[in-house]
């Protein structure tokens, strides 16, 4: 349907509503860019663990693996696959160990993912406006906003996931049509459409960016299985051989520490309550696109053919259950949010297309409802700063003033507020203390170490989960603590094994406490 089908007065109402929805989504995008730019300028850990990912990248840049025996000095290992870090390596070679490098990669990954979402919707429906809305809705999600511009591998994984599914969906339009049949060739696997090859490569890339992409890989293969079981089995076997070969090679090169760090250390305790809580929060924030995506999923199951996007949405929805793992969080729902954006966009675009055959009243109603739905969805995920020349006015107009200077419809969040000048000063103050300390510094965050010129020692969270799993013996670390071998201790969340914390308490005393990004950093020095 085109707007020309609508009576003139209604046409203008629809145009104004679409313009308002676009304005709202673009407004959220500007806030996202502002947040990203603020983080690029902040040289310390904003989210705990960023500095360790930077250190992983530095090790890769030096031709070393970060998968090591963390029971010996410097008590360090990484629990994430290497691809994100390897992608960031060239920036480290050029600009040195800076946190903005990986943050930029993450931010660009979110933009590419949003573009791919829009492209997927456009290719399936031919509707440019709803395609653009779908991509912008992904960027407007609180979850995308929070973790996009961080030095974390998660958004790069989501980017590869989206690209994989869009590529796989390429030869198979989601709507029934004669062209929806897979191409049958006699040349074996080499005759597969390029979209399948590209999709499989992106699936491999997603898996080697973060293990959580396994569900998307299964979704992609399940889609291929529906369209041609033999081809899917061959593709799955090929993917398993390549992925397994890389896995065995890295495991051999790291003397088995890859397997311990990547697999065994990630089998954490599960909390059903935590998973349900995160499901509830995700649903409350995204119920518009979730309802539309579920509706489209049911339609494709019972009245049409299943598209790659629908299968992906179903698998990603189930995969959200892993958010109950110790240490997991909202980021586990970014993939399903992306899938919901694509599927809901296709649902609305198809309705828009079919409304050309409806009565005028029905077409008008749909044309009004679509932008209203995007407006409601944008309001659900609203997040903006409430201080500043423009922000204050906008926040007041929207009735979302906040004393903290940042409003988030999710409620209190650690991520989202921009680092202030005081946060910068606090970071430099902690780095200065570390720089002046004798010997290595036992720090729960690695970002300070790069500014202080000290070696990175320990990686708190992996130590804790590996200790809980019986994979980490802290004897040597405690022995060094007892010798007061560390000139300074910097603690934030105290995510260390209890015996390590006890040893720190026995041998180190408080020196000062510094607040940064809303967190209290406890600085300890050796007891006399």
């Amino acid at each position: 349907m085109s707007l020309a089908h609508l009576p003139r007065p209604w046409r203008w109402v629809v145009i104004v509503l679409f313009a308002l929805a676009l304005l709202a989504l673009l407004g959220q995008f500007i806030v996202y860019c502002h947040y990203a730019a603020s983080l690029f300028r902040f040289p310390f850990d904003y989210d705990q663990g960023e500095g360790f990912e930077l250190y992983d990248t530095v090790l890769h840049a030096q031709g070393q693996w970060p998968y090591r025996d963390s029971q010996v000095f410097p008590f360090y290992t990484s629990i994430y696959p290497p691809l994100f870090h390897i992608i960031t390596v060239p920036l480290i070679w050029i600009f040195g160990p800076e946190l903005w490098t990986g943050r930029l990669i993450g931010f660009l990954a979110s933009l590419i993912a949003a573009t791919a979402i829009g492209w997927g919707v456009y290719r399936a429906s031919g509707n440019r406006v709803i395609a653009a809305f779908s991509g912008l809705t992904f960027l407007a999600s609180n979850y995308t906003f929070h973790i996009g511009p961080l030095f974390r591998q998660h958004m790069t994984m989501v980017m590869f996931e989206v690209l994989a599914i869009v590529a796989l969906a390429g030869p198979h339009p989601p709507s029934p049509s004669p062209d929806a049949e897979p191409r049958v060739g006699r040349g074996g696997v080499l005759s597969y459409p390029s979209g399948i090859w590209i999709g499989l490569i992106f699936l491999l890339a997603a898996g080697y960016t973060k293990q959580l992409a396994l569900a998307t890989a299964l979704a992609g293969l399940a889609f291929l299985f529906l369209r041609g079981p033999r081809r899917a089995l061959l593709a799955g076997a090929g993917l398993a051989v390549v992925a397994g070969g890389i896995f065995i090679w890295i495991n051999y090169a790291t003397h088995g520490w890859w397997y311990v760090s990547l697999i065994k250390a990630n089998l954490n305790a599960f909390s059903q309550a935590q998973a349900l809580s995160l499901y509830r929060q995700w649903t409350e924030l995204h119920w518009v696109i979730i309802a539309l995506a579920l509706g489209r999923l049911v339609y494709e199951i019972y009245f049409s053919r299943l598209s790659a996007y629908a299968i992906w949405f179903a698998f990603a929805l189930g995969n959200g259950a892993l958010s109950g793992k110790f240490g997991a969080g909202e980021s586990y729902f970014v993939t399903v949010t992306a899938a919901a954006c694509v599927l809901s966009g296709i649902a609305l675009a198809q309705l828009w297309k079919h409304s050309a055959e409806w009565k005028v009243q029905g077409a008008i109603a749909l044309a009004i409802i679509i932008p209203l739905l995007y407006l409601v969805q944008t309001r659900l995920t609203l997040h903006l700063y409430t201080a500043g020349p423009i922000y204050t006015t906008v926040a007041r107009a929207l009735g979302v003033n906040s004393e903290s200077g940042y409003y988030d419809s999710q409620g209190y969040t650690q991520l989202g507020p921009r680092p202030t000048g005081a946060d910068h000063e606090a970071g430099y103050a902690i780095s200065e203390l570390a720089h002046n300390a004798d010997g290595p510094v036992f720090s729960e965050e690695a970002g300070f170490m790069f500014k202080a010129g000290k070696p990175v020692v320990t990686n708190a969270f992996p130590q804790l989960v590996m200790y809980q799993a019986g994979l980490f013996d802290p004897t040597q670390e405690i022995e060094m603590i007892n010798r007061k071998a560390f000139g300074l201790v910097i603690l934030r969340a105290q995510f260390y094994p209890p015996p390590v914390l006890a040893a720190l308490g026995a041998n180190y005393q408080p020196r000062t406490e510094i607040m940064m990004n809303g967190f209290l950093y406890r600085i300890l020095e050796p007891r006399p």
Binding site: D179, P182, L226, R227, I301, Y302
Partner: protein
């Protein structure tokens, strides 16, 4: 013996090559280069079976009997897409397997607990839902999944 118009989805295609004699047992026709649609690719020049339009399986398009197909087409696997009914059976089997596995845990004695534990109950519940979902697909018949 051959009715190229049987499948009316393809009767309006314009990029056909004339291969009627080919199906009637005559040697493969010499196809002038100028008559080979660009979409068929270079192999069409050699009288290859890929004279068929890109993306078409000649067996399904022209309903050849197996003997004819053997003459014309070298043995090859077909890879038809799944139907809703087949998908329903697969999902039903998966759900049933989950339920049976959950119950089977007690039979083999894993865990050594009395009665159904919370994890077992959840697995049985999820398995039952999955099986019911699979069951709901069975009436949809041979429509493509």
């Amino acid at each position: 013996m051959f009715d190229g118009s049987r499948d009316d989805r393809y009767t309006d295609r314009t990029d056909w090559t004339d291969f009627t004699d080919f199906f009637n047992g005559s040697p493969a026709p010499a196809v002038p280069r100028s008559r080979v649609p660009r979409s068929l690719g270079r192999r069409a020049d050699r009288g290859d079976i890929r004279l068929f339009p890109k993306g078409c399986n000649p067996c399904t398009v022209f309903s050849l009997n197996p003997k004819e197909a053997d003459v014309i087409i070298p043995p090859m696997f077909t890879d038809p897409p799944l139907t809703k009914r087949q998908l329903g059976w697969l999902i039903l089997s998966l759900g049933a397997a989950m339920v049976l596995t959950s119950l089977g845990v007690d039979i083999v004695g894993a865990g050594q607990f009395n009665g159904l534990g919370p994890a077992q109950r959840q697995l049985i519940g999820v398995g039952t839902l999955i099986a019911l979902f699979g069951l709901s697909l069975l009436p949809l018949g041979d429509r493509l999944a």
